[in-house]
């Protein structure tokens, strides 16, 4: 009798709108939550656990070593070289992507709609091109003897530059490649931001006698601040995670001139199979990204509120 009643109640509950909604919500969320838990959350805790152990993949013993991996990493000059290069890349990449992306968005927005529909996909194309293909193409452009870049620079009396074979030029060369790939995305984000700015504000400024430069500086740029904040954070994170271009174009060389943190993680983990050390560097990178992103959001949000 009790069971039949409970069954009846559950059937009645399940037929209600609220129950259907709850079923729909949990039915939809459970797969992605499970996926996220298994492939993102658990690996983070596993990496933390591994980072506290000496974990050579081929070794049978994996003893607990506490913070030894973290200490040995910060005593390794390669880590500091990689960190310096990573910060150099990320900072240059972030500023260039933002400035060029905004400039291109302004340029494209000012075009005739037909021209706009041509240039927007053209500028965006590198973003959807394989990073591997881009890296290989730029390697050829940078070829010191017969590369197109040196060939063109020769006409204005510059070069030849060694680009990827020079410790001083390798990072700028890789930054140019990364920026070329990403600037189209930045342009699209800024274009969306520009579209959201009410035209009557700009018109009001113009009516009050503001020059186009003043309109841009005092109206457009402040209203683009949420977009800029988003670009600051995402491009900085992207810059700190650079790997593909470095791996394919220079392998971190010449010497250690272009070594970056993700390359160091890769080498420690998948070349020397020292998973404990690799995990500890990964946590340093995680902390670096978290702190920078927090500072950016906190500082820039205060600056941008109006």
């Amino acid at each position: 009798m009790g069971i039949a009643r409970a069954h009846q109640m559950s059937v009645r509950f399940l037929s209600t709108t609220r129950a259907k909604r709850l079923l729909f919500i949990w039915g939809s969320l459970t797969p992605i939550m499970l996926y996220f838990l298994i492939f993102s959350v658990l690996p983070i805790f596993a990496a933390l656990y591994i980072s506290l152990h000496k974990w050579p993949l081929l070794g049978r013993a994996k003893p607990f070593v506490g913070l030894d991996n973290y200490i040995s990493v910060i005593n390794d000059p390669r880590f500091w070289i990689s960190l310096k290069n990573t910060l150099y890349y990320a900072a240059a990449y972030m500023f260039l992507v933002i400035i060029l992306g905004l400039a291109m968005a302004l340029l494209v927005s000012s075009l005739h709609p037909t021209a706009r529909s041509v240039f927007r996909p053209l500028f965006f194309a590198p973003q959807v091109t394989s990073a591997v293909a881009v890296a290989l193409m730029f390697s050829w452009l940078y070829q010191p003897q017969w590369g197109v870049l040196n060939y063109l620079l020769r006409f204005i009396g510059l070069g030849p530059f060694m680009w990827l074979q020079s410790s001083k030029q390798v990072m700028p060369a890789i930054i140019i490649t990364g920026v070329w790939e990403a600037v189209g995305y930045s342009m699209v984000i800024y274009t969306a931001g520009l579209t959201n700015i009410p035209t009557d504000l700009k018109e009001a400024g113009a009516v009050d006698g503001a020059t186009s430069g003043q309109v841009f500086w005092h109206i457009v740029l402040p209203l683009l601040q949420p977009t800029t904040l988003f670009m600051f954070v995402t491009s900085m994170i992207g810059g700190l995670q650079v790997f593909t271009e470095v791996w394919l174009m220079s392998g971190g060389g010449p010497g250690t001139a272009s070594r970056v943190l993700v390359l160091e993680i890769y080498d420690q983990g998948f070349r020397y199979f020292e998973m404990g050390r690799a995990s500890s560097i990964a946590f340093y990178l995680f902390l670096l990204i978290a702190v920078i992103a927090y500072l950016q959001i906190r500082y820039l949000r205060e600056q941008f509120e109006f």
Binding site: L58, G59, Q145, Q165, S167, G253, P254, Y272
Partner: protein, 464 residues
């Protein structure tokens, strides 16, 4: 319009179904017992009629052709109740080679129905990770293709099965001494040499003949030849390089090429007991100075096939690349160059090894299969299909007249494994290669390159 769209959709669905059925039946057919024909690439000399200076002439050209190879028919059949031992076999991707290996595996299964061989491969860059993770997970392949510098680490962890007596006997009888030495660690032999990467000097005959330069036999002769072959235009831009050698540490190539000069000048990377670096020496200094003159980091990696470099160092497999990338290139392989102390070509080895966690039946079947795979006729098949050098004492008869194969075969007596058998060799290799990149880019002098690299290597050795 809607009707037409529906019809079109129906047609597409019908077509998809038909295609699916076809694919399914093809898949089922492929799963059958009949051996599948394999498409392999072969390098052949072909006679073709060409117009040379206005006259039709028959000329010989080296071309790569695709050929369908039907694997030998089964000559033995599985007896009812006969136990089948399954062995898994892992290597890395190189399509013509993979096709040839798979065909050899099938041929062996035809001859030995009590053995089932499952061949698989992963991209080269992923192979070490795949091997290591599968061993760590306890599910390694039975037979693994292993790059020489990785061997020490695998052996230190007791992950590899020492070769049985019949393999040792086979190596003593049928292979040059260097092959067994290369596979020996702590007094035990761990496998057959799969192939040897011996980068012999290869010259562009047209460029040498144009300047009436004789092929060099020593480093002194090469440096003298390059006086004529190195060419710049009036603005100082390179037009032609006498020699281009590896400058990047990628794939360890700058260390491999440098090792030939170092060894020939009497140097070595590590001391005999592998406890300290040994290349920061007089021999190291001489070798570094010469290598810098020969390497040219400003040259593109394929300067040789572009006709811009008169000499590069590469392996026997390069022939098929020349045939496809520069069919008109006239080239010749030379014996390793003599140095003042020795005539040695630093080389790397790949091995076929058997994983220790395999069952005794799998190990036994795997070693027998590897013995069969390492016979001269099977090496000859590899040479035909991929250009890998036969490394047995006796060059297979069909290759005895092949000048290219003969030169590389003779070069084997000058081969020496470039790496030290040390579990941290990968780090040591990177340390040397990194500093060499800076030296070749002329950012540091030879003294600083050798000192910095030696310090780094000593730190790695002290920590291990």
């Amino acid at each position: 319009m809607e009707q037409r769209r529906k019809l079109a959709r129906r047609d597409v669905l019908r077509g998809s179904l038909a295609l699916g059925g076809l694919a399914l039946s093809a898949g089922l057919a492929a799963c059958g017992a009949t051996p599948t024909p394999q498409v392999v690439e072969k390098v052949v000399e072909k006679e073709v009629t060409k117009i040379v200076e206005g006259t039709p002439q028959v000329v010989k050209e080296t071309v790569v052709v695709q050929e369908t190879v039907v694997v030998e028919k089964t000559v033995a059949v599985q007896q009812p109740g006969q136990k089948v031992t399954e062995i898994t076999w892992l290597s890395h991707v190189y399509e013509p080679w993979n096709n040839a290996l798979a065909a050899q595996g099938m041929q062996y299964m035809g001859l030995h129905p009590d053995v089932k061989i499952v061949y698989s491969y992963v991209p080269h860059a992923d192979l070490n990770t795949k091997i290591t993770t599968s061993l760590a997970a306890g599910s390694p392949p039975t037979i693994i293709g292993v790059y020489g510098p990785w061997m020490a680490q695998l052996i230190d962890g007791n992950w590899l099965d020492p070769a049985p007596d019949e393999v040792l006997q086979d190596l003593d009888t049928n292979f040059p001494k260097v092959m067994k030495e290369a596979a020996t660690y702590n007094g035990k032999v761990y496998g057959y040499v799969q192939h040897i990467g011996i980068p012999a000097p290869i010259i562009d005959l047209d460029l040498y003949e144009a300047d009436s330069v004789a092929p060099p036999t020593s480093y002194d002769e090469l440096l003298a030849a390059n006086q004529k072959l190195d060419k710049k235009d009036s603005s100082g831009n390179w037009v032609q390089f006498g020699t281009t050698l590896a400058t990047s540490k990628a794939g360890s190539w700058n260390v491999i090429d440098f090792s030939a000069v170092l060894f020939s000048y009497g140097g070595t990377f590590l001391t005999d007991d592998n406890k300290k670096s040994a290349f920061n020496s007089e021999a190291g200094m001489q070798a570094a100075t010469i290598y810098q003159q020969l390497a040219h980091p400003e040259a593109p990696s394929d300067a040789f096939v572009l006709g811009k470099s008169a000499m590069e160092w590469s392996g026997p497999w390069q022939k098929s690349y020349y045939a496809s990338a520069a069919p008109k290139l006239r080239y010749k392989s030379l014996l390793p160059l003599k140095g003042p102390v020795a005539q040695i070509q630093g080389s790397y080895m790949w091995f076929w090894v058997v994983s220790a966690p395999a069952t005794p039946e799998q190990k036994s079947a795997a070693w027998k299969f590897l013995g069969w795979l390492s016979a001269p006729e099977q090496y000859a098949a590899q040479y035909r299909n991929v250009g890998l050098l036969p490394i047995t004492n006796k060059l297979p008869e069909e290759l005895a007249k092949d000048e290219w194969a003969q030169t590389f075969s003779k070069a084997l007596q000058y081969a020496r494994v470039y790496y030290a058998k040390h579990p941290k060799w990968e780090q040591i290799d990177v340390a040397i290669g990194e500093e060499m990149e800076r030296f070749l880019a002329k950012e540091v002098k030879a003294e600083e390159f050798l000192k910095t690299a030696a310090d780094k290597v000593d730190q790695i050795l002290a920590a291990s």
